[in-house]
């Protein structure tokens, strides 16, 4: 049986003097999965993001959640200084400013971008001390090695912003690199990696070759939730994501 949970969110809005008659708006709903009566089951928990510059911060990355579901986001500016605000944006499009004490609650589609995939095809024989540098990692061969050995070496290395895997198959000469984030858009030098200006740089003293090709063009997600604080001094934003 699928896990479910019951989460209720209620909203009321009232004023006795904004109009000539009192206003009292109420709404309450159980947070359910898309097109379902089952409750949303995942949550980030109640968290706080503290900012210390007026840079834009990404609060939730769309790539990390299932797109086009029934996710909900709660935000609150914890500042007590009336002039301090967070500009809330959907990617780079402004939604609005949350001033001190303001809260917000809204659905989020978490529309994914496309993660870039590139291939590195190796051939011939590599010599001792040949290197491949990518994403801040420099991999050095311990001895003269086959391309298969080099493919395995590259595929098992951990990279900060990419995952690597052997392409598989009998030839085993190709490493596939997949970006961890669709907003990680590199401008690769396609073709030979034996150039100093590419994102992948191979230093080969034997007769080996390394060729870079793009397998999937990356498309940045346009649905990340971002915040921009109004001041560089410390500000805090409370947040929850409830998702499926």
């Amino acid at each position: 049986m699928a896990k479910t949970a019951t989460t209720t969110v209620s909203f009321s809005l009232s004023s006795s003097d904004l109009t000539s008659s009192a206003i009292n708006i109420t709404a309450s709903t159980k947070l359910t999965k898309a097109a379902s009566r089952l409750g949303l089951t995942d949550t980030s928990g109640l968290g706080v993001k503290t900012t210390t510059s007026i840079d834009q911060y990404t609060l939730f990355y769309a790539d990390q959640y299932t797109a086009d579901k029934s996710s909900k986001v709660y935000l609150k500016n914890l500042s007590t200084i009336a002039s301090e605000y967070f500009l809330v944006s959907i990617d780079d499009e402004p939604l609005g400013r949350l001033y001190a004490g303001d809260f917000s609650f809204f659905p989020w589609s978490a529309t994914d971008g496309v993660r870039q995939v590139i291939s590195l095809t190796l051939a011939a024989t590599w010599a001792t001390a040949d290197t491949v540098t990518f994403d801040g990692q420099t991999i050095t061969g311990a001895a003269a090695a086959t391309t298969a050995a080099w493919v395995e070496l590259l595929a098992t290395t951990k990279y900060p912003n990419w995952t690597a895997a052997e392409n598989g198959g009998a030839s085993d000469t190709v490493v596939l690199f997949t970006a961890k984030d669709s907003n990680n858009l590199e401008n690769f030098q396609l073709g030979s990696a034996e150039v100093a200006t590419g994102s992948i740089v191979a230093t080969i003293t034997g007769n080996g070759t390394a060729v870079v090709a793009q397998v999937t063009e990356g498309v940045a997600s346009a649905n990340d939730i971002k915040i921009t604080p109004s001041v560089a001094t410390s500000m805090s934003l409370e947040h929850i994501l409830i998702n499926e």
Binding site: A5, T6, T7, T8, V9, S10, F11, S12, L13, S14, S15, S16, D17, L18, T19, I23, I25, A27, T29, L31, T32, A34, A35, S36, R37, L40, T41, T43, G45, K69, S70, S71, K72, A82, S83, Y85, L87, V88, I90, D91, E93, P94, L95, G96, R97, Y99, G101, D102, F103, S104, F105, F106, P107, W108, S109, T111, A222, N223, I240, I242
Partner: protein
């Protein structure tokens, strides 16, 4: 000066391993001010006989927008059932999210882009309203 108060209560006994209940209250004030918002559209209630595509529910041209504003928008899908969602977008196909029947949202609004809705079914019902400031702060 008007005083308008918004309250949100979020609670669950089982979405985490612990009971969770949170109540938040905010007084709706103008930007960088303790003066209350002074304009309200009223709550518009509509039932769309046909599916809608990018139908404007909040037109940015009506609101001041030079940055220092603290407008608020409330939207609720008042339809019955499970599946007839309302896709809320900002002008230019900037997708915010889906309001399924009963779901509501309450957001700050910069007044720089229209707020639009798209529906996929007939007879989808919606209510919405804007609390705003008449001049920038």
């Amino acid at each position: 000066m008007a005083t308008t108060t918004a309250t949100l209560i979020l609670s669950s006994a089982d979405v985490t391993g612990h009971n969770f209940s949170m109540t938040q209250t905010a007084t709706l004030t103008k930007a960088a001010s303790s003066t209350g918002l002074d304009e309200f559209t009223g709550i518009t209630s509509r039932k769309y006989p046909a599916a809608q595509t990018d139908t404007v529910v909040v037109a940015d041209s009506i609101y001041v927008y030079d940055g220092a504003v603290a407008h608020k928008v409330y939207i609720r899908n008042t339809s019955i059932g499970n599946s007839d969602y309302i896709l809320v977008e900002l002008e230019g196909n900037v997708i915010v999210g889906r309001l399924y029947p009963g779901d509501w949202m309450f957001i700050p609004y910069a007044g720089t882009l229209d707020i639009q809705v798209t529906t996929i079914a007939t007879n989808v019902s919606i209510e919405y309203g804007v609390f705003s400031q008449s001049t920038v702060s």
